[in-house]
Amino acid sequence: MGGFQPISFYSKLNAGYKLLPFRFTALDNTRIVMTNIAGEFYITTRTILTDLVHHRLDESSQPYVQLRMRGFLVDSKTGVALDTLPIKIRSRLANLPDFTALHLFVVTLRCDHSCPYCQVSRQSESKLDFDMTREIADASIEMMFKSPSPILKIEFQGGEPLLNFPLIKYIVEKCKAKNSENSVRTLSFVITTNLALVNDDIVNFCKLHKIDISTSLDGPEDLHNANRPRPGNNSYQLTFDGIDKFRKVMGRNSVSALMTTTNRSLPRVKEIIDEYVKLGFNNIFLRALSPHGFAIKTKAYQKYKTEEWLDFYKEGLLYIIDLNKKGFHFVESYAQIILRKILTFEPTSYVDLMSPAGAGIAAVVYNYDGDVYASDESRMLAETGDKRFKLGNVLTDGYTDVFLGKNLLDALEESFAKSNPLCEECAFEDYCGSDPIYHYATQGDVVGHKALSAFCTKNITIFRFLLSLMDEDREASKILRKWALR
């Protein structure tokens, strides 16, 4: 009687798989991250990767099954990935046709604070020449309504925008009137303010028109005041009082806060997070300092290296995850944005993590003088004298002049990450962005050499950190996955 062949004999009979496009990058010394053409990831070893590429991977093995399921290969059993991958890629780009949803109105450059890290190159309170006029506001509103986006989010920026509150009122009422004339856009409003000038009239107006508030909170009182000087050195107390005022009238979620990391912040990330928890926030955005405006002039930007900020970030993120493990829901917002890109195909409108770049596509800025900029960062660059990313002026240029002009399109095309050196082969490219303004500001080139790019170092390190956490810590993985789905 003959014997049976071993199972391996039969797998050879059905051998043969075709690779689908993928990229890979080292996660650490022992693990590799692979991502398929739609950005789905798989963590493995170099041995598996090499076997896969050389068609030696055993089809009965777990890695083979996982890789087939996730669209890294096809074989005789299924080629469904060829149908699903295009859908996933399209999903990631689904918001592009809507074009610009976020419209920033810089209603004044005047400010009552003197933050050395200010990226806005603010003017003193007395200089009325730096206020937006009604004529410019009208022209900006006209241009905004030419955007095809079904959602229009109007964000009032400065300086300190409340110093020109009458114009804010004018713009809100004008936008609502125009919107009710002939379209069905969803309008939303937000004021970014230091809250120092809040009074009951302002709060009541915001309540009436459902205007959200975004403020700055750099941490505990001493840190916040040191970072954000103003006459009286009472920025923290005014912020605290302002948050309280708005919440009492408009509810807890009406106010969000952002922090900026300075040299002073670096050893105090847990205290900063505790301050946010104490003040009733459920999230924090651990932000690095960008190379714009006064931050460059005062050299605040150079004061800490990327590595120091990354240590700050990792310590903060681990602390936040620990809070979650203890049952307290609290989110780190930058991680949440990234996790949504890693774990879903939902498109992002976070400008810095878009490719094609979010400049002009996700957001546009109407400056107090009518100049239109591709992003807040390019407006900040212009305040230092470099108008490379000025797209036009609302008083002299039409919508197509601004949005189809070379200044915008060249930057978007040249910086498109899928065709840039190092980015095009990077496994994390679908999670990242191109940020032409950052690279222009730091390297004089919208593409930049990514080996020299702090933007690249920062993001790759965070991607690796998050993926490693999800791979190594089951509880942290659950928490991070929940963040992605909120």
Partner: protein
């Protein structure tokens, strides 16, 4: 300074360029092909900001060279299907 010599039967010049490009924050490189095209020489000079061990960097570069070879194989093998996927992706791009 460190020099490495790479057999052209194993390594392609484009892969060498791509690998070396990644280390531009730490070293500068002079790349040359021998007259008989049998080997590629890479001469690495550490930049002033480089504080690491050049021997370790060479090890990392060797790993990266292997990775670039793998990437090229994947790219060549998947070029056609990549074009099909992308064509399918953008063939249905239209606003309703």
């Amino acid at each position: 300074m460190k020099s490495i010599s790479l057999d052209t039967r194993v390594y392609k010049i484009d892969d060498v360029h791509r690998a070396v490009y990644k280390f531009a924050d730490r070293v500068s490189a002079e790349i040359a092909i021998s007259k008989d095209n049998s080997f590629i020489s890479v001469q690495l000079s550490p930049l002033p900001r480089f504080r690491g061990d050049l021997d370790v960097l060479v090890q990392e570069l060797n790993i990266e060279l292997t990775d670039q070879t793998l990437r090229r194989i994947v790219k060549e093998e998947t070029e056609a299907v990549r074009n099909v996927i992308l064509a399918h992706t953008f063939s249905q791009v239209a606003r309703g």
